[in-house]
């Protein structure tokens, strides 16, 4: 389906008009800052509203891509400007456009210097994120995929904490290594297939030997982004140093790039290799779930704790994807969206108290509930969503992943399910130390309650987490056809195994 007007392009590049406005703003520092905030919020808010038309215009009863746009880029090269969404990418685009205005709102007061530059970085970041999920051409995907890192790198490096340089550098080293390998693989694929068109590549059959190496090349890049154990150590540092809104986007959207990449590239293009490497991925993911949960227990820094919990949750995602089952992949998708909302909210929870006391040390708090009862309620809800309470979005993804995992191997499900216990341990313990108890420190007692802006950030997140938990069909139905498409592409290769079962 080629739509009549380029909706996807408009959504993708609309934030750039905001950048233009921002560059045009003149005046003293304060008025520039105030106007910059407003422009960024309005533009990103409007982008979100526009992106809703993707959801409502999406035909869930149809396979393949929708809202497609295609234009020759370099004629005869097999490279084109090709955009489109299916049930896999569309939810991610909405997640990105939804979280961006919230993050901008979250930085309303905490970012005080070079506000205009900061807002430009965020809008550019949004373009890159949306563009990456909308790309149906491998080259475009690569540009956006790597392009995302630049604004994020700058956000951490300029507006980050005291050790931001170390964190940004670590982040850079890891991702560089992965990207180079992925780029080499992409060039090889282009050579062989003569096109960079993603749907065409998904139809193309690479020899199993080659798939082996191509898989590993892409894996290097995606595993860092997820992040999978043991290439996860950039994440806690990056989160701790990033400003609150940076963490929200980092955990909310950027961590999903790896999982999305696995589903979009590794599974359909290297099906034999995916099957071959599945046990290896299971082992890494299980280690991630148990190892990082234990490490999270030992943290004394709130943000680090939540960062480690993200690694554990993403372990569920990679398990789900490589079960190569319908429930597993749908569950992984759902878990990614859910984690996008819940972890963004949790990082915001940290940000809220950080804005007041300027410390992330758990021991500096205690008894916050007396000063901030509504905050305690939102934090409680998100904490419970994070531990996968049924009725919140966190449960649906975990449950489906476990269903798929049990089918793939009982042991995988058993080990993964220990994450449910450990997750409850570190999250409840965190909550107890920060929120419960009698506030003894005078500075904690004097903390101001949530203001309207903060409530405005929490409320939409809470509503969505609850809605997806009670009526997950909103998402599951949209994804169903695309997930079965991917499985259908895997099916010929898997048929031997199915017979053996």
């Amino acid at each position: 389906m080629i739509s009549s007007w380029p909706l996807l392009s408009v959504i993708t590049f609309l934030p750039l008009t905001g950048v233009l406005f921002l560059l045009l703003i003149r005046g003293n520092t304060e008025s520039v800052a105030a106007n910059a905030r407003l422009v960024a919020l309005w533009v990103s808010g409007f982008t979100f509203l526009l992106s809703l038309s993707l959801y409502f215009g999406f035909d869930a009863e149809m396979s393949g891509y929708q809202f497609e746009e295609r234009a020759d880029w370099i004629s005869g090269s097999g490279i084109s400007y090709h955009l489109g969404v299916d049930g896999i990418s569309m939810p991610f685009i909405l997640l990105s456009t939804f979280l961006t205005p919230l993050s901008i709102l979250a930085s309303w007061k905490s970012i005080t210097h070079r506000v205009r530059d900061y807002m430009i970085a965020f809008l550019v970041l949004e373009v890159m994120m949306v563009g990456m999920f909308a790309s149906l051409d491998m080259l475009m995907f690569y540009l956006f995929f790597e392009g995302v890192l630049i604004p994020m790198f700058i956000i951490i490096g300029v507006w980050g904490g005291a050790e931001r340089v170390y964190a940004a550098f670590k982040f850079f080293l890891y991702t560089l290594l992965g990207s180079v390998l992925m780029l080499v693989c992409m060039l090889v694929m282009y050579h062989l297939a003569g096109t960079t068109d993603i749907p065409a590549l998904a139809e193309f059959t690479f020899s199993p030997e080659l798939q082996f190496w191509l898989f590993l090349g892409f894996f290097a890049s995606f595993a860092v982004k997820v992040p999978m154990w043991p290439v996860h150590t950039w994440l806690p540092d990056a989160h701790v140093q990033a400003p609150t809104a940076g963490s929200m986007i980092l955990a909310g959207v950027l961590l999903k790039m790896g999982g999305y990449g696995f589903i979009r590239f590794s599974l359909p293009m290297f099906p034999d290799a995916s099957e071959y490497f599945a046990p290896f991925i299971f082992v890494l993911s299980i280690v991630a779930v148990i190892y990082t949960s234990l490490v999270a227990l030992a943290q004394s820094d709130m943000k680090k704790l939540i960062a480690y919990s993200s690694v554990a949750h993403m372990g569920f995602v990679t398990i789900g994807i490589f079960t190569l089952t319908e429930q597993g992949i749908a569950g992984a998708m759902f878990q990614m969206i859910s984690h996008g909302l819940v972890s963004a909210a949790l990082f915001f929870c940290v940000g809220v108290v950080y804005d007041r006391l300027h410390t992330r040390e758990i021991s500096a708090y205690g008894g916050v509930v007396d000063a901030m009862p509504r905050y305690a309620a939102f934090f409680m809800f998100m904490m419970l969503a994070s531990v996968g309470l049924p009725g919140t979005s966190g449960f649906v993804g975990e449950m489906l992943v476990l269903v798929g995992a049990w089918e793939a191997s009982h042991w995988v499900a058993i080990f993964a399910a220990t994450g449910l216990i450990l997750g409850a341990c570190y999250m409840l313990w965190l909550y107890r130390r920060v929120v419960f108890g009698r506030a003894e420190k005078p500075e904690v007692l004097e903390m101001a309650g949530l203001d309207r802006r903060e409530v405005m950030i929490f409320v939409p997140l809470t509503i969505l987490v609850l809605w997806f938990g009670v009526y997950p069909s909103t998402l599951l139905d949209v994804m169903a056809y695309s997930v079965s498409d991917i499985l259908a592409q895997l099916a010929p290769e898997l048929s031997v195994q199915t017979v053996m079962r």
């Binding site: 090269s77 530059d117 080259l139 290439v231 309470l389 399910a417 409840l428 009526y471 139905d477």
Partner: protein, 644 residues
């Protein structure tokens, strides 16, 4: 709408009360939460007469929930006899507790929040008992867990309260681990999580196996034991019981509703609900019997030595739940449900009575600081007597019918495991009577041991707290007599219908009616001896208990310290996990991965990081510009090499 209303009225009450609590409108919050639950109770009475007495089963669809491929779990309510019985128990006790709380909590500024939590709990519990599939049951299961967490930690200023709340949640999660795996196993086995689909062909899975890397196990046994692990967590059975005594940190109405009458019985309900599966798992049945019987005696021995009035009753609850489980283990599910029902009345009565005592003594919970108040609190005193008589199983009180039925069924099972349960159950019956009267005597009789100031304030509770005790007391007296024929007597088969399944070869229920006379008499004799023992030890020779404790020092400390379960778990799970986590972080993440990864690289590269410091001095659009140039260069390079 009628059936949905039963379940969702308490939810509406909870939401409304929650909203009122934000504006400190306590009266409105109380009104909506109480009326929601009471209405739900009235509707439940109609549902009970239509379903349990009329022999109908109703399935009510509400909405879609989790659908992915062949995995389908929908919001769907199921009303059969098993559900109907639970409806009465849950909404009945919940109504009494709601009303009682109005008096008990009226000094508390957060009473509106408290009422909202109570209603939320009631909703979750109703979702649990009306679930038509295992995933929705799990929703209710976790929902009551959260409500329990919120209510145990209600007085969040108290370190002990929020510690206990967290402990309850985490220990329950250990059980949930088994529950979830059980659901997965059932889904792979039967291709569904809905009860009707699972049970339709349960007999045909007898030969199915589940293999764990080479080890093949009978599928139904694995499923049953996994689900039972879940039940052990929720129902505080030996090994996963440690959270229940600590849960007494919550306000007393919570202990009565959640930790005595309803939530902790969810495990028993689950086992009965899954009877069409568990019946085909003989090993699992034996495990259930042994765990249940062991819990019954374990908790009773600990209950004898505790001094906190609520903890004594908590251990008693733990012990009584053990009875219910071993009844289910010998396939006497109706007896288990019967005891569940009668126990809900008398145990809620005992807890609310204890709350009344605590209230009268200005929040004193230690039995060593009570005594000599029985004349001042006559209603409470009477109620505690009724509850104790029912608990100990004296003739014609509720516990007499249900507990004896369980012991007779265990005897009637004619298996070695059944006999094991029978004898441990008898021993526990003796101890039950002992600690019940120990509690009565220490709390109400003898010299007052409280300070004079406290004693001068001792008063009977207001009507709003004593009136809700009346229906519970009536239940504690008459429920056994009234329900006997229906639950376990002649009308049993018609009453339970399809909701409980018992293999024809499992005849414990039938055999229970034909046991020798001494089996019927033994529990009464033991109970009487227990009361006499308590009388001698605490009235006639008050120095005796101290002496016994002194002489049997080691054993006494072992019991007093609850068999050292907490210390053991702390040593082998809690502390090592934190230490190991810290070790992984320092030696794994920092010492190994970072050391050889990025840090090692950066050391190699030299001063790259130092140079990167300059990054922060530039302007963002410089970077944006540099980025665009980079893209252009990349593209040019790319196409010069490969484009043509």
């Amino acid at each position: 709408m009628f059936y949905q209303a039963i379940v969702f009225l308490p939810l509406l009450g909870a939401i409304a009360a929650g909203l009122f609590s934000l504006r400190q409108q306590n009266a409105a919050a109380i009104a909506v939460s109480v009326s929601g639950v009471v209405l739900s109770f009235l509707l439940s009475l109609f549902a009970f007469s239509h379903i349990a007495m009329g022999g109908n089963t109703e399935i009510v669809s509400v909405a879609r929930w989790i659908n992915s491929g062949t995995f389908e779990a929908n919001w769907q309510l199921r009303f059969d006899t098993l559900t109907a019985v639970m409806l009465i128990v849950v909404t009945g006790v919940s109504s009494c507790v709601h009303i009682y709380s109005v008096g008990y909590m009226h000094h508390d500024k957060a009473i509106a929040r408290f009422m909202a939590y109570l209603s939320l709990f009631t909703f979750a519990m109703l979702m649990l008992v009306t679930a038509d599939n295992l995933v929705q049951l799990f929703f209710g299961w976790e929902g009551v867990g959260v409500a329990s967490y919120l209510l145990i930690g209600f007085w969040y200023h108290k370190e002990s309260a929020h510690t206990a709340a967290m402990k309850a949640f985490v220990v329950n999660r250990v059980g949930d681990f088994g529950f979830i795996l059980g659901i997965l196993a059932i889904f792979t086995l039967t291709g569904s999580v809905s009860f009707d689909a699972i049970f339709a062909n349960s007999a045909s899975y007898q030969d199915a196996v589940i293999s764990f890397s080479g080890i093949t196990l009978p599928a139904l046994e694995v499923v049953s034991i996994l689900l039972f692990i879940g039940a052990m967590g929720k129902s505080a059975q030996l090994g996963l019981h440690t959270w229940l005594p600590d849960a007494m940190e919550g306000p007393t109405p919570v202990s009565a509703l959640i930790h005595a009458a309803t939530m902790v019985t969810a495990g028993v309900f689950l086992v009965c609900r899954m009877s069409p599966i568990i019946e085909y798992a003989p090993v699992a049945l034996d495990v259930i019997t042994i765990v249940g019987a062991s819990t019954a005696i374990f908790a009773a021995t600990v209950g004898m030595t505790q001094f906190d009035i609520k903890r004594v009753i908590a251990y008693s609850t733990c012990s009584q739940l053990g009875y219910m489980f071993f009844a289910a283990g010998v396939s006497a599910y109706p007896a288990a449900m019967f005891h569940l029902t009668t126990h809900a009345f008398f145990k809620a009565l005992l807890f609310l009575g204890a709350g009344s005592v605590i209230h009268a003594l200005s929040d004193e919970q230690d039995l060593r600081h009570m005594g000599g108040i029985w004349r001042k609190v006559p209603v409470t005193y009477t109620m505690m007597w009724v509850g104790s008589l029912a608990l100990a199983g004296f003739p014609f009180f509720a516990g007499f019918y249900s507990k004896d039925m369980i012991l007779e069924a265990a005897y009637g099972a004619h298996t070695s495991v059944g006999m094991f349960a029978f004898w441990l159950g008898c021993a526990a019956a003796l101890l039950t009577a002992f600690y019940s009267w120990r509690l009565l005597i220490l709390a109400f009789h003898g010299q007052p041991r409280a300070s004079e100031e406290v004693m001068s304030h001792v008063h009977e509770s207001p009507n709003v707290m004593t009136l809700p005790l009346v229906p519970l007391a009536i239940g504690a007296i008459f429920a056994g007599w009234a329900g006997y024929e229906l639950f376990v007597g002649h009308d049993m088969a018609a009453f339970w219908g399809d909701s409980i399944f018992i293999l024809p070869s499992h005849t414990a229920m039938e055999a229970a009616h034909h046991v020798p006379l001494w089996v019927k008499l033994l529990p009464i004799i033991l109970a009487t001896s227990g009361v006499l023992g308590a009388y001698i030890a605490y009235v006639k020779m008050p120095h005796l208990p101290g002496k016994i404790a002194e002489v049997s020092g080691g054993l006494y400390r072992f019991l007093f310290n609850k068999w050292y379960f907490d210390e053991l778990y702390d040593r082998i799970f809690v502390r090592p996990a934190v230490v190991f986590g810290g070790w992984l972080w320092k030696r794994g993440d920092k010492g190994t991965i970072d050391h050889f990864g990025p840090d090692g690289l950066s050391a190699l590269v030299g001063r790259v990081s130092a140079r990167l410091v300059h990054i922060q001095t530039g302007y963002v659009y410089h970077y944006a510009f540099a980025m665009m140039i980079g893209v252009v260069i990349l593209l040019s390079w790319y196409f010069s090499g490969f484009g043509r």
